[in-house]
């Protein structure tokens, strides 16, 4: 820790002496925000006052003097803008029109109805203002005439309104105000953190390379992890400070505006309690910290690839756009924080801040959001640390783990996607999945499911085509052996039973019902069973297996086992010991690949309750592909798993009779014990059978880092 502390002090001092960072951190929030907000308000207020105080001229044909006199008399008691009417004699109309701010084109019907067309220039502020003032004046006269007519007929004004409809909003005014501004505050919080993180992140990574100090740092007696951790802490610190300064500055400016310049704005707060908001301050601070950790890690992950400040700016721009888009999600009507949106980074923060400001939040959801973001931050920092261990990144000749941006003609046959390619592919897939898939799902659940599955299948195929990978070897498209089937089935059943028990426990813990899980398929349950089996079972079985077990697990397996080979070559002098060490590291590498692919598989299902079940299933499937050597086995098991769910959703009663345990909404301790014991036993049998054979050898023409 002493080393990290020393490095953090060095980073902080170095960043503090960078003028660009200081401008972004201090000048923009402390000076620019108040200048913009207060300056704009003052300018607006000045323009309005000058409009109210000046004389506005209105031209009209002199033959309608009667209307103008009557209207002026009707409005005599009211506070209206100062209008000067200029009558135009015959032949002078055009001249008066040009010299006045607005012109009244007046006519009168046989029934005595006045028709007035106000001609004005909308691009001219004074002319627009005159038009509005004139409309107010004429409306006042119209009201007076109407009242006189009703009185003449012996009627009162209620005659005009036989049905009176009024709305009453039961939301407390303070809460309503909180919901209105909460979305904006969430967005501002995220964007200010982003602004605070970007420049220090670039300076600490690409800037360090550009200045040539990175190699010096590498010569010092510190680990790469200590190095990256200290950079991460420093950048996150600057992001927090910038966000706090920005929020204080913005808040101060707005309060000054409300209570100092425009007291009428304060009246719109409807009793919004700042004291109550202050009580939520610790929660907001935790949110700020967690968001800063995540945004910093994201920024650094991309900047680390760059060799210069300019290059880093190019890499970070798409990240900034995505983060900004996510930060605006709380402003979309009907998007609320639930256990699904709580899993989407940035979006969840934006929605959570809105709820906190409105003082109307669910502690479970807030806790989940904070934990989820913290978890994402840890994963991102871990990724960052791994990237910082790559010599290709540190010695700036391009990252061999990222070949997607290379010309295809320069890529060698049989190249396996590297870690950078995987991260980019999964990120693109997630964006397509969230934005395209969900946009289509809103219109039609069936079309949405089909689109999503096509994206899941299409993207990895496109990437491996581009990278000229050996698809058959990478995806393990091989005829399944008897051993793979014999081991795969019990392993699947075992993980299914363990997952079921975990899901039911979590459901009870989070007070959710099974109906919530079934809700997302509501739109398609009226479809015939074959269609259901196609979109819910067959397509996911093929697409998800190709993506998670073929593309992701396959590439990670090659990456980890390739590294294992190199480490073993470096570490040991005796050939037999080296071979044994290599085998041990390869096994560990495959397990790591299986765990990572299973985690991504579980995260993709976007359900906290189903997370352990999908993780276990994903891990089991990866083991079957690894030891069994064929993806067809897991495709069949995945189909079986999803088909069972589809049948259950379509025919719950009949299926419930067939599998009574699956129809239960709550499990007893005995049920859990039986599931755990049975699951563990079956999983152990499956693993034992799979372990009997030798795993299909890894390796391909080219292993990338």
């Amino acid at each position: 820790m002493r080393q990290v502390k020393t490095l953090v002090c060095k980073e902080v001092l170095d960043i503090l002496r960078d003028k660009k960072t200081l401008v972004m951190m201090v000048v923009v929030p402390v000076l620019l925000y108040p200048l913009i907000i207060i300056g704009m308000s003052l300018a607006f207020s000045y323009v309005m006052q000058s409009q109210e105080s000046r004389e506005h001229t209105v031209g009209y044909s002199a033959e309608y003097q009667e209307l103008v006199d009557a209207a002026k008399e009707a409005a005599s008691g009211r506070e209206l803008a100062r209008l000067t009417f200029i009558p135009a004699e015959a032949g002078e109309e055009e001249k008066i029109k040009e010299s006045t701010d607005a012109w009244m084109d007046i006519s009168r019907t046989e029934n005595g109805i006045w028709h007035v067309t106000v001609q004005f220039t909308s691009s001219d502020e004074t002319s627009s203002y005159t038009s509005e003032a004139l409309a107010d004046l004429l409306e006042a006269y119209s009201d007076q005439l109407l009242a006189e007519n009703l009185r003449a007929e012996g009627l009162d004004e209620e005659f005009l309104h036989p049905v009176v409809c009024e709305e009453e909003d039961l939301t407390p005014a303070s809460e309503s105000f909180g919901m209105d501004i909460g979305g904006s505050i969430g967005m501002i919080l995220i964007i200010t953190i982003l602004m605070g993180a970007v420049y220090p992140a670039i300076d600490a990574t690409a800037g360090e390379k550009e200045r040539g100090t990175l190699e010096t740092l590498l010569t010092l007696p510190v680990t790469n992890f200590q190095m990256i951790l200290s950079k991460y802490i420093s950048v996150a610190l600057f992001a927090c400070v910038t966000a706090i300064l920005s929020l204080l500055s913005l808040g101060g400016s707005v309060l000054f505006l409300m209570f100092g310049l425009s007291p009428e704005l304060a009246s719109q707060m409807g009793g919004f309690s700042f004291a109550a908001l202050l009580r939520q301050l610790p929660l907001l601070v935790v949110t700020l910290l967690v968001t800063a950790l995540l945004v910093t890690a994201l920024c650094m992950c991309f900047c680390v690839f760059a060799r210069s400040f300019k290059e880093a700016n190019n890499y970070i721009t798409p990240v900034m756009l995505v983060v900004m888009l996510g930060s605006m999600s709380a402003m979309i009507p009907s998007v609320r924080l639930d256990y699904r949106t709580a899993l989407i980074p940035i979006v969840n923060v934006s929605l959570m801040v809105k709820q906190i400001i409105a003082q109307q939040f669910d502690a479970g959801l807030v806790g989940t959001t904070i934990l989820v973001n913290f978890g994402y931050s840890i994963v991102t920092v871990w990724l960052l640390a791994r990237m910082y261990n790559s010599e290709d990144i540190l010695f700036s000749d391009g990252f061999r783990g990222l070949r997607l941006f290379q010309k295809r003609s320069g890529i060698r046959e049989g190249t396996v996607p590297g870690t950078g390619d995987l991260v980019i592919s999964i990120a693109v897939l997630l964006l397509l999945y969230l934005y395209v898939g969900m946009a289509v799902t809103v219109r039609s659940t069936l079309a949405g499911l089909l689109t999503t599955q096509l994206i899941i299948l299409g993207l990895p195929l496109l990437v491996v085509w581009y990278m000229k990978s050996d698809v058959r070897g990478l995806f393990r498209l091989r005829r399944p052996s008897v051993r793979a089937c014999a081991g795969g089935v019990p392993l699947y059943l075992g993980t299914y039973m363990l997952g079921l028990s975990c899901s039911m426990l979590l459901m009870r813990l989070l007070s959710q019902s099974t109906q919530n899980l079934e809700g997302s398929f509501e739109g398609i349950l009226e479809q015939p069973l074959p269609v259901l089996l196609l979109v819910m079972a067959l397509m996911p079985a093929v697409g998800e297996e190709i993506l998670f077990r073929g593309f992701l697990f396959g590439s990670l397996r090659e990456y980890f086992t390739g590294r294992a080979g190199r480490i073993a070559l470096t570490g040991s002098a005796r050939p037999s010991a080296a071979a044994e060490e290599k085998r041990r590291r390869e096994r560990a590498g495959c397990v790591r690949a299986a765990v990572i692919s299973a985690l991504v598989f579980a995260a993709f299902h976007m359900s906290l309750v189903k997370f352990p079940a999908t993780f276990l299933l994903g891990f089991g499937f990866a083991c079957i592909v690894w030891r069994g050597g064929s993806i067809y086995v897991t495709m069949a098991l995945h189909f079986l798993n999803n088909a069972l769910s589809a049948v259950f959703l379509k025919y719950p009663e009949q299926a419930g009779k067939l599998f009574p345990i699956l129809a239960k909404t709550e499990f007893t301790a005995v049920d859990h014990a039986a599931l755990l014991a049975g699951g563990l036993a079956l999983a152990a049998v499956g693993i034992a059978v799979l372990r009997r054979g030798t795993p299909v050898p890894t390796g391909s023409a080219e292993q990338t880092e």
Partner: protein, 291 residues
């Protein structure tokens, strides 16, 4: 002592095949073994792209070898970093296993190891001292000693970005001295320096040798290497093609100067295929200001 055992480093290079450019792997350092003892100056010579910088980076723990091992031996077993100090070499000395301790035992200096421009030399030396675990008083004393030896007192508090080339190079040497390492690895330390600054570096290397330190350095200045080095390793295409003391190399080649010996050795090694040229370009890029 520092020892390279069958060191290998694999990189990729671009190879033109017809109209297509493809990547292929090659060994930038190909099974290199060498030893450098305390009180020795070892020269690493070779043309651009021979693999000198990559070899020195692996010896300096900046790069992980694809194969082989870098072994550092300390004189007093179990005495940690402090045990490295002092002259003399004991064959039975303990091997340093910990990578951080290995890094602490090495002072690495190259054209690519720049200093933090926004720091003053004093601030930078304080940061290094803290990182090496020195106390506040020790840091102050050592900073004063180093600045006196390297004649840096007049610009010790100036920001590094405002120093001249010679002053910056002296600050770089101060960086290495702060840890008082057992082994110095210097990659072209006199490159681009004026005569006075280059002489200061040469003087520094001789002084460290007298103090019983190991100095490994690469250079293109053959006359400098001839009078300075105790032993020389000549490298071509990642492999050692000749080794020995300057006198031994002259005797082996039957020449009178190291420059002639160099030509004699490399003319025999010249393999000028299109692919090699491509590899040299590729590796030079990888090494930045490569040897």
């Amino acid at each position: 002592m520092i020892e390279a055992i069958e060191l290998c480093k694999q990189f990729e290079r671009s190879v033109k095949k017809g109209r297509r450019t493809e990547k292929e792997s090659f060994l930038a350092v190909d099974h290199v073994s060498l030893r450098a003892y305390p009180g020795e100056i070892i020269g690493i010579l070779g043309p651009n792209g021979a693999g000198k910088t990559t070899l020195l980076r692996m010896l300096g723990m900046l790069m992980t070898p694809t194969g082989g091992e870098v072994r550092l031996t300390q004189r007093v077993p179990g005495a940690g970093i402090s045990g490295l100090r002092g002259a003399g070499y004991d064959e039975a000395g303990a091997v340093i296993e910990n990578e951080i301790e290995k890094k602490a035992a090495i002072g690495y200096l190259s054209g690519n190891t720049k200093l933090y421009p926004r720091f003053s030399i004093r601030e930078y030396l304080r940061f290094l001292g803290e990182l090496y675990g020195l106390g506040r008083k020790q840091i102050e004393e050592r900073t004063a000693d180093i600045s006196r030896v390297l004649d840096m007192e007049s610009f010790l508090d100036n920001r590094i970005e405002r120093l001249s080339t010679g002053q910056t190079q002296r600050a770089s040497i101060a960086r290495c001295l702060m840890a008082d390492p057992q082994i110095y690895i210097l990659d072209e330390p006199t490159l681009g320096l004026d005569i006075l600054s280059a002489d200061a570096i040469i003087h520094f290397m001789k002084e460290q040798k007298e103090r019983g330190k190991t100095v490994l350095y690469s250079t293109h200045y053959l006359e400098e290497a001839q009078f300075l080095c105790d032993r020389i390793y000549m490298i071509c295409d990642g492999r050692i093609v000749a080794q020995g003391s300057p006198q031994e190399l002259l005797a082996q080649t039957g020449t009178e100067s190291l420059r002639e010996a160099f030509h004699s050795i490399y003319d025999g090694q010249a393999a000028g295929s299109e692919e090699d040229i491509c590899a040299v370009e590729d590796e030079s890029r990888k090494g930045g200001a490569s040897a």
